[in-house]
Symmetry: C2
Subunit: 530 residues, 2 copies
C-alpha cells in the first residue's frame, strides 16, 4: 500500500467517514514540511455513531469464544506487518523517529497483539473461581457460587504521541481492551494521523477477515479536545485509556469522574524516574554509570515516560567525576528532532523555567544549537544541591525531553529525605553494590512506597513486555496505581467479575463448568488446579 | 465487660480521646429510648492525629511478615467473641435487630477475619509473577522482572448501619484492608456507636497483644458529614470503603476524585435486585415462589442491599396467583422495627412517592399499623404494568426497606425490555426451569451486562462469604464494578502491584525469591506452579 492512498477519513466501524468541517495536516518535524493528505476531524455525530455501533458490537462480541478474539488479534498483527515499508515510512515522516526505532516498535506492537492472543487462548487470566454447594451445611445451606472476569463494554483509547505504534491505534491499550472482549474507539493522535489511518485499516481488514461484528473498532480524527471530551462523557463509553500529559490525563479523569455514571480513566501521565547512585557503585564504575545515564536520558530525544529526570548522589570525588563525565557527554550530544512542535515548546519552556530557579545551574547543554525548523532540542544537564530540591516543589515536575537534574546530597539522611519527598513515579532506580543495598536498605523501603517499579543496576528506559511487568505507579504517575498499561495484567483494566449462583452446568460459561473443558487454572473450593 | 463501661470516646491509635465539643446519644429504635453514654464527636485535630499515626504505623506494618498480620486478625476475632453477651445486647439495643441475627452476624464477622488471616497466611493472593532474565536475548537482553501485590497506606472505612458488625468497625472492609497491610481508620456509624466502641476495643486489645504498631487502627465518632469529608480529603488517606446510600457514597466519591491526588472510593450504594419469574417456574411452584419472595423481601425488615425490590413476570393465571399469594403474605406481615429513624423516614418517603406515581398501585401493605414510636415500617407490595416502568425512571430507584414492586409484562419482548432498561445492580435473579433457561437465554445474556451476581432459582438476600463471591456491580450498585466488598477478592481493593527489576535474591521479598520459601502459587516464566 502506498501512503498516497491515505484518504484522511475517520472510520465509523468499517466505513470511512468524513462529515466534520475542519481538517488538518500532519507535519514532518524533521523538515517542518506538511504532509498530505488533509485529515478531516470527526463530527460529534460520527462519534455518536461509532459509540452506538460499538454498543451493538459489544452484545455480540462478549458472547463469542475467546479463540475468535485471539484470531482477530493475531490477524491484526499480520495485517500490520503486511503494511510493510509504507507504515515505517509514514511513521518516520510523521514523528521524526529513526526507521530502526519504528521497526523495533512495530515488532513490539505485533508482539503485544500476539501476547494477548495467547493469553486469552490459554484462558487462565479470567481468574475463575468455583465454590461448590454444600446443601447440608448448618445453619444455612451453602450455595454453588462461581465467578470469572468478563468484558465491560466500549473502551475509548487515546493514542500517545511518543509511541506511534506501541501505545497508539493498535497498541497495548487497544490490544488488551479487545482481548478482554470490548469494542474499542481510538481517538487518533493528531501528530501521526497517517500512521494511525494505516494501522486502523489493518485492524479493520483483520476484523473483516476474522468475521468480527461491525463496530468492534472505530477510529476518529480530532485535532482539539472537543471530540475526546465528547467520547469520554458519552454514556456508552465504559472505560478510557490514555497516555500523555498530566494536564490532559487529569482533565479526562475529571470528566469521567463527574459523569452521572462515573467510569475509570486509566491514565499514564507523568514520571521523573529518579536514579539513586550509591557510593559503592560510584567507586566501582563512575565512568560506566555516566555513559549509561547519558544514554538513558537522551534515548529517543528523551521522549519516554521512563526517562530518568533526576539523578541523586552523595557528595564525593567520584560523584564529581560522574558529574564531569556527564557534562562532557551532554555537551557532545547532537540536538535531536522532537516528535512535534508542541512537545518541543513544552521542553523549551520547562528547561527555561528550571534554569531560572535560584540554586539550579545549567551544568551543560548540547554544544550545537538546536534548529527550530527541524524541531530540534538540545540535551541539558541541570545541577542543584539536595536542599534546593527539598525547598522547591517545581524541581519535582517532569520535563518531557532529553534533560536531567543532578542533585548532590550532603549526607545519607539528606538522600533519604529526597526519596521521602518524592511524589508518585513509574520507576525509581538504585545503582549500587550488594553492600550498598544492605547499607541503604531504608532507601529501598522508602522507594517501594513511591513507585510501581524498582530497578537495581539498570536503567528505567526500555520497558519489558511480560506478565510480571508493572508500568504504573502512585499519582501523578498514573491515575490509578492498581493497574498497569504494559504486560499481560493490562487486560484487567477492562474487565469486571461476574458471579453465577446456582446455575446448572450447561448454562454456565465453559470457564466455570466443572468439566473445565478449556483446561484453565482455577481456584476450586479454595485449591488451585486445572 | 459491661456496656455501662462504655466511655463514649474515640480512639486515636490506642488512646481514648474526646476533644470534640459536640456529643450525641444512641437511640433504641425499638423503644425510642436514648441510650447512655454520650458519645463525643471527634475533632478535626483528632482526625489529623489518627491519620498521622496511621502513616507512621504503615511504614512499620508493611514490612512485617504476613504471619504477624494474620495473628492480629485471628486475635481480633477472639477478642470480639470474648466481648460475649455485652456486645450482642448493645447491638440489639442500638439496632432493633433480633439477638439471633446479631449472633449470626458476629459469627460471620469472626469468620471473615479468620478467612483473611488464612488467606494471607497461605499467601498466594499476592499474585506473584516472575520472569527470569535472558541476558543473551536479541536484539536486547531480557531483564529479571518480578512483581507482587503490596499495601497502599491508610484506609478510611465508613461503617454501614445495616450490618453493625459484619460491615462495620471490624467488618469485611476493615479485615481486608488490614490483611493487605494497611492501617485503618473507622468513621463509626452514629446509629450504633456503643457497638462500635466495644468492637474498637477488641481490635485495640488484639493490636496490643499481637504487638502491632500504634496507629494500625483508629476509631472516630462523628454525627454529621464534616468528619468523614475531612478524612477522605486528607492527603494521608489512600483509599476509602463505604457501604450506604447512593447520595452518601457519591458525595465521598466526588470528594476523593477531586483531591489533588485522587484516591479510590469503593462504595456499595444502591441496588434493586430484580427477580424474573419465568413461566415454567410459575407453573411448577407459584405458591412456593410467593413464599420465598415474601421472605426475601421482608427479611431483616427489608434492610439488605440485596433486597429484591422488583419482581417481573409474564401476564398469566399463575402470575396472578403468585400476585394474590404475595398480597396475602404482605398483608399478614407484622410491621417491623427499622434500624433508625432516618431509615424509616426514607422508607416512608420512598413508598409514598412510589404510591403517588400514576400507573402504580399499592396492592398490599401490612394490615397492622406501624408504630412510629417503635420505628416501625409496614411491608408493602406495589404493582404496575411493565410499560409504566419503562416510561418512568423513578420506578427504578431503590427504596430501602420491606417493599417490592411487581411488574406484569405482556410479552417476552417486554420482559427483555425491562431487563435492557435496568441500570447497574448487585444482583439479578432468574426463577425458572431448565427449559425456561433455554427459552430465555437472551434474558440471561442481557442480565449478565447489568449485575455483578446472577442467581438461578435462589434469592438474592444472604451473601455467601467465599473466594468466588462477587458483591459488586455496575454503577450505581457500586462506584467501581471491578471490585467486590465480600469474599477474599475484597483484599484487592487495598493493594497495588510493585515490580522489582534486577534485584538480587536476598534483597527481594520472600514471595518473589526463586526459593519460594512460602510455597505460594506463582506465575513463573508464564507457568503456574509453586
Amino acid at each position: 500500500m502506498s501512503t498516497t492512498a491515505l484518504h484522511g477519513k475517520s472510520f465509523i466501524g468499517k466505513e470511512p467517514s468524513a462529515e466534520g468541517r475542519r481538517s488538518f495536516l500532519a507535519t514532518n518535524p524533521a523538515t517542518g514540511a506538511t504532509l498530505e493528505p488533509h485529515f478531516r476531524e470527526a463530527s460529534l455525530g460520527e462519534a455518536n455513531r461509532a459509540l452506538s455501533l460499538a454498543e451493538r458490537a459489544f452484545t455480540e462480541l462478549r458472547c463469542r469464544p475467546p479463540a475468535e478474539r485471539a484470531a482477530f488479534l493475531d490477524r491484526i498483527a499480520d495485517e500490520i506487518l503486511e503494511l510493510g515499508d509504507a507504515l515505517i515510512e509514514r511513521a518516520v515522516e510523521e514523528t521524526g523517529l529513526p526507521s530502526a526505532r519504528i521497526q523495533g516498535e512495530r515488532a513490539r506492537t505485533v508482539g503485544q497483539l500476539r501476547m494477548f492472543a495467547n493469553l486469552i487462548r490459554e484462558g487462565s487470566w479470567v481468574d475463575a473461581r468455583i465454590d461448590h454447594a454444600a446443601p447440608e451445611r448448618k445453619p444455612a445451606p451453602k450455595p454453588d457460587v462461581r465467578r470469572m472476569l468478563v468484558s465491560i463494554g466500549p473502551v475509548i483509547v487515546f493514542g500517545a504521541s511518543n509511541f506511534p505504534l506501541a501505545f497508539s491505534v493498535a497498541g497495548g491499550d487497544t490490544a488488551s481492551a479487545l482481548a478482554a472482549g470490548n469494542p474499542v474507539i481510538v481517538k487518533a493522535h493528531r501528530a501521526h494521523p497517517g500512521t494511525g489511518e494505516l494501522v486502523a485499516r489493518a485492524i479493520l481488514q483483520a476484523a473483516e477477515k476474522t468475521d468480527m461484528p461491525d463496530g468492534v473498532f472505530s477510529f476518529l480524527h480530532g485535532a482539539g479536545s472537543e471530540l475526546g471530551a465528547h467520547l469520554v462523557r458519552h454514556p456508552a463509553a465504559k472505560a478510557v485509556a490514555f497516555t500523555g500529559s498530566l494536564s490532559g490525563g487529569r482533565a479526562l479523569f475529571d470528566m469521567a469522574a463527574s459523569r452521572p455514571e462515573p467510569i475509570p480513566v486509566y491514565a499514564e501521565m507523568s514520571s521523573v524516574n529518579p536514579v539513586f547512585v550509591l557510593p559503592g557503585a560510584l567507586k566501582a564504575r563512575a565512568d560506566e554509570l555516566a555513559a549509561g545515564l547519558h544514554q538513558s536520558v537522551t534515548l529517543g530525544v528523551g521522549q519516554f515516560c521512563t526517562n530518568p529526570g533526576l539523578l541523586v548522589g552523595l557528595k564525593s570525588d567520584e560523584w564529581s567525576l560522574l558529574t564531569t563525565r556527564l557534562k562532557d557527554l551532554i555537551s557532545s550530544t547532537s540536538p535531536g528532532t522532537m516528535l512535534h512542535v508542541g512537545i518541543r515548546e513544552g521542553y523549551e519552556a520547562g528547561t527555561r523555567n528550571l534554569a531560572s530557579v535560584s540554586g539550579v545551574s545549567v551544568a551543560a547543554r548540547s554544544s550545537l544549537a538546536a534548529d527550530a525548523a527541524r524541531t530540534q532540542a538540545q540535551a541539558m544537564l541541570f545541577t542543584a544541591e539536595a536542599s534546593t530540591f527539598l525547598e522547591k516543589r517545581e524541581l519535582s515536575e517532569e520535563i518531557f525531553g532529553p534533560s536531567t537534574l543532578l542533585l548532590t546530597c550532603g549526607s545519607r539522611a539528606e538522600l533519604e529525605s529526597i526519596a521521602r519527598n518524592l511524589h508518585g513515579h513509574l520507576t525509581a532506580t538504585v545503582q549500587g553494590t550488594a553492600q550498598d543495598l544492605l547499607e541503604y536498605a531504608e532507601l529501598v523501603r522508602i522507594l517501594e512506597t513511591k513507585v510501581g517499579r524498582l530497578l537495581f543496576n539498570g536503567y528505567p528506559t526500555g520497558v519489558e513486555v511480560c506478565p510480571s511487568m508493572h508500568h504504573g505507579g502512585p499519582y501523578p504517575a498514573t491515575s490509578y496505581s492498581h493497574f498497569t498499561s504494559v504486560g499481560t495484567a493490562a487486560i484487567l483494566r477492562f474487565t469486571r467479575p461476574l458471579c453465577y449462583q446456582g446455575f446448572p452446568e450447561e448454562a454456565l460459561p465453559p470457564e466455570l463448568r466443572d468439566s473445565n473443558e478449556r483446561g484453565i487454572w482455577r481456584l476450586v473450593d479454595g485449591q488451585f488446579g486445572r
